[in-house]
Symmetry: C2
């Protein structure tokens, strides 16, 4: 399947026996309140399942929106579950995905609950770089980066205005630059330092 950028390819509350896996491009899964407040739960990169839970649930708990043009696969829930029961390697793969998903979610919870704006944004970028690196999708210090400031805000629980100021500081301090969907890391050490916790 294929979708243009900025399309919603799964809606909250919708029933569906399909499980989405991203093959190419970036997407997000998120939930939204009636008053418009939105929280992005995860950024989906090539190879990602929307969530392991979607394997077991007919009802979509989250919406999925593409950031770039995206190609993705739709598997039938029950087919996957059957394979799971029959083939141990598939189960192992599911285990690995489960662990990765949980780690990302836990890290984000810690960010939102206990970290400053600077730390949240620095760590968001570091984790994305790490995930891209593992998939050989990032070579060097210049990376394709389709997240808008509004997206960064909806991931980190900040406002777009404050994201803008913080990114402005990063640029001013020669740490990184984002422009035209391109992220340039200028000082990886400084970026790491921002993400690390300074013990008092």
């Amino acid at each position: 399947m294929f979708s243009r950028a900025r399309r919603t390819i799964a809606f909250t509350g919708e029933a569906s026996d399909s499980v989405i896996m991203i093959c190419e491009g970036w997407a997000i899964s998120f939930i939204q309140l009636p008053d418009g407040r939105r929280q992005i739960l995860s950024v989906l990169l090539p190879g990602d399942l929307v969530s392991v839970a979607s394997l077991f649930d007919r009802r979509q708990q989250t919406a999925v929106q593409t950031l770039t043009d995206v190609s993705y696969c739709l598997y039938h829930r029950l087919d996957v579950l059957q394979k799971l029961m029959a083939e141990p390697p598939v189960m192992d793969a599911l285990g690995a995905i489960t662990i990765a998903e949980k780690q990302e979610a836990d890290a984000l919870l810690m960010d939102l609950g206990r970290r400053t704006a600077e730390e949240r944004i620095a760590l968001l970028i570091l984790r994305l770089l790490d995930r891209l690196g593992r998939r050989n999708l990032a070579r060097g210090d210049v990376v394709n980066f389709p997240l808008r400031q509004q997206h960064i805000a909806d991931i980190t629980g900040l406002t777009p205005v404050h994201v803008n100021r913080t990114l402005g500081n990063f640029r001013r301090d020669g740490i990184l630059e984002i422009s035209d969907c391109v992220l340039k890391i200028l000082d990886m050490h400084a970026l790491r330092r921002l993400g690390e916790t300074r013990c008092p």
Copy 2:
């Protein structure tokens, strides 16, 4: 197995082939930064697995601490996985747990990212009441409630001081009272209203 209140029964980074399931009492799973900041990821009630991910991971990603005296079971990871492959009903149960866990985590992310202190605390209590109700552990408007204000702060990403003031307001407004590990709901409708999103 049995543990007294306020004991740590699993440590971050520790390797172990056991999976913990709470049988009686309350516990929390959390992560902590070197500088002391702590984020509680979930409150564990009777019947809860620490996390589905712990089934697949030898390494504990989170710490687990008891709030009350707790009795719990230790299963061997591989035994459970084997049962999972062999017995479809076990797989179904795992599916249900996976879904519930994801919903709780998503709700908490939304809280931390996008809700006010009042909403976070109100929703924390509402979700706990709901979970207790499903297990027939809550009868009526008076519930055993072993969370200290410090715990509420570490779940909601607030400071204990601010939790105190917010709970003080709830009490002043006749919404709820917490004292001596007992939660009294005085006005459930008002509490629900606090948790709901007012559309603008």
